[in-house]
């Protein structure tokens, strides 16, 4: 008769799976929750929303506009991703809705759909290139550039706020996959980092 005793999974392994993947690495950090809005609309919607949001929303492909607390990322000719402080979520929404009244647009709160990771340091480009074929050199992907792209198998938004720092917006359910993958690739550059920190 077959042995039907369930296989015991060691507690340490379960803990490792449950723990946030990133804790000890300073080159890969999960970012705090924030307000996120997807805005779709034409040039008039972009102008009106920009005035209410406090930024000139980028018109050029794959470019961003940012202040220390807010950012607008170009995702498509009629699509922008707006980022702000989590505590401002309600006021941002209210301001945008008021400014966009009467203008054809779509404004969706996607704050909880995505999480954000930040990868920084001298190896950031090389580590990202472990799963993305984009040319991430400063000449091809300058500071302020952003794009939706594919990271191995996950859709992400990649944004370069500073020369040595990349901001990655990833859908919540892919976060573990993406951060684990980055951590795995990073072991080549930071050999001291274990898988489950």
């Amino acid at each position: 008769m077959a042995d039907t005793t369930p296989t015991r999974i060691p507690a340490s392994l379960i803990d490792a799976r449950r723990s946030p993947v990133v804790t000890r690495r300073d080159w890969l950090q999960p970012l705090a929750p924030r307000a996120r809005f997807t805005l779709r609309g034409g040039a008039d919607a972009r102008r009106a929303a920009g005035a209410a949001f406090g930024l000139v929303l980028p018109e050029d492909a794959c470019r961003s506009a940012a202040t220390p607390t807010r950012a607008a990322l170009w995702l498509g000719p009629d699509e922008q991703l707006l980022l702000g402080l989590e505590t401002d979520t309600a006021s941002i929404q209210e301001g945008l809705e008021q400014a966009l009244r009467g203008i054809a647009h779509s404004l969706v709160d996607v704050s909880h759909r995505q999480t954000a990771l930040e990868i920084s340091g001298p190896h950031a480009e090389a580590i990202l290139n472990g799963a993305s074929p984009l040319d991430l050199s400063l000449s091809a992907f300058p500071v302020g550039m952003c794009t939706r792209t594919v990271f191995e198998k996950a859709d992400v938004v990649l944004w370069r706020p500073r020369a040595d720092t990349f901001h990655i917006e990833v859908w919540r359910s892919f976060t573990d996959y993406v951060s684990s993958l980055i951590a795995e690739i990073g072991r080549e550059y930071y050999p001291g980092d274990g898988r489950a920190a």
Binding site: C62, L75, P77, R148, T149, V150, D155
Partner: protein, 96 residues
Amino acid sequence: MLQIQCPYCGVRPESEFAYGGEAHIARPTDPSTLNDDQWAEFLYMRTNTKGVHAERWRHARGCNRFFNALRDTTSDRFLAFYRTGEPRPVLAGGKP
């Protein structure tokens, strides 16, 4: 991996794109006036070109736009990229 030039975002790897079939096929403006053969012609019949083929692509994992491209189906080489709504470009050498 093929390099595809999105008319909005520039050159990107093929993995960001989705193929959209033959380009320049307009949906009949009033399908109710068509008989079954004419509807089937619109729905199913494609040229299956050997050579320069006008086709739709979508930057599905980028800016999400549809655009058109000319590709040589024998060599898999892209010859031109242009936005939806623009006329099919004439290639150097006079080939359509």
